[in-house]
Every structure is written in C-alpha cells, then in structure tokens.
Amino acid sequence: MNVHFKGVFFLTQTLLPLLADGGRIVNLSSGLTRISAPGFAAYSAAKGAVEVLSVYLAKELGARGIAVNTVAPGAIETDFLGGAVRDTPDLNAQFAGMTALGRVGMADDIGPMIANLLSEGNRWVNAQRIEVSGGQGI
C-alpha cells in the first residue's frame, strides 16, 4: 500500500508545481483490478485506488491541460512476484491460455506502448484505464 498507492499519491502531489501545463501523467495499474485472483487483495485494492486517483487527477488537472491515464498490464515476464510468471512453466502456461494472443506479455510489450501514449498524437486520450494484455481474461 505504501509503494503502490501512497508513493503515487505523494510523489504526484510533490511534483505538481514542477509538472508543465499541458504535460502528462501515466500511472500503472494491473489486469488484476478487472479480474480477481486469490492472494492479491491488497495489491489489487491499491491498484484500484491508483485508477480512481488517476480519474480524479484528470478532472482536477484538466484546467492545466494535463492528461492523466492508467495503463493496466496483464501478466508480464518480469521480476514481478520474484519472476514467477517468467520462471514457473505452469503459471506461465495458465496465463498464456487465458490470453487471446496466446502468450504472456514481455516488458517490451508495454514500454513502447507507454512511450507512444505520451506522444503528441495521443494527446486527447484522457482519464482512461487502458489494459495492455494481449487480450487476457476476455
């Protein structure tokens, strides 16, 4: 809760004077705010709070021309959960099986998307939760 929500809240609050008018904020949530998995109540609740915060930030910062969105990745092969998705074949296959594109995500499936979201062409995207999961749990 400290890292996933309070960190986002208080860092954003601190940096608001430095954030340029017309700037952008992208917060990271998780596919687990849409689908439920046992054992992730605290994590998912914190991410849900990030999503609500992002919508409120979009409303409150709109007057400054600042767009705020949330990116919600599905299961990704990173160090998350100690690398469990990457290193546990059964878990990896389970997530791949519930994904339309037939595999779990890689870090490189997310970074370029966020860079693109921050580009000028996406300036009108605001107050949205954008799931980036290859179609997981649909």
Partner: protein, 88 residues
C-alpha cells in the same frame, strides 16, 4: 519546450523498458530506483551507447538521470528535475 519524463522504478522490468523506449524516441528521462548500485544501474541502460555528461548519461542524445529513492526521495527528484530543465 523541454520535455522530460520521470519514470519511477526504472531499474528493471516495465520501468526500465519504458525508460529505454522513451529515450529511443528522443525523450529525456529521469529514472528512479530503490536499491541498485551505481554501476549496476548504469549497466542496465548501456544497450544504447552515448557519451557521458556530468552527472548524467547521454542516451541516444538524451539525458538520463539516476535518482535514488532510498532517502529524501521527493526533494531529490524535485531538485533533479529543476537541474535537468535548466541544463537543457
């Protein structure tokens, strides 16, 4: 206008990949991390070569700043952003 992207948790995983993606697209980035040592964190971003600058690493022509989140996080990030904006 100077555009700088601050990316938290950028020493690995999605944060690192996002920082590299933005840098490759020509953006200046400030990356924060919690516990990586200096050499380790720099090597994580060495896939794009570039000359060094004082207290910053040029990455494909971009500025890359490292900020530890171990202590004094908010004031450190704030001051780093001010320095970056003023040196650009």
């Amino acid at each position: 206008m100077t555009k700088i992207t601050l990316i938290t948790g950028a020493s690995r995983g999605l944060g690192r990949n996002t920082a590299l993606s933005i840098a490759r697209a020509g953006g200046d980035v400030i990356v924060t991390y919690h516990s990586r040592s200096g050499d380790a964190r720099r090597s994580r971003f060495s896939s794009i070569p570039g000359p060094s600058r004082a207290s910053a690493t040029s990455l494909a022509g971009c500025l890359l700043h490292f900020v530890t989140t171990g202590s004094g996080t908010r004031s450190t990030i704030s001051s780093t952003m001010r320095v970056m904006a003023s040196t650009r």
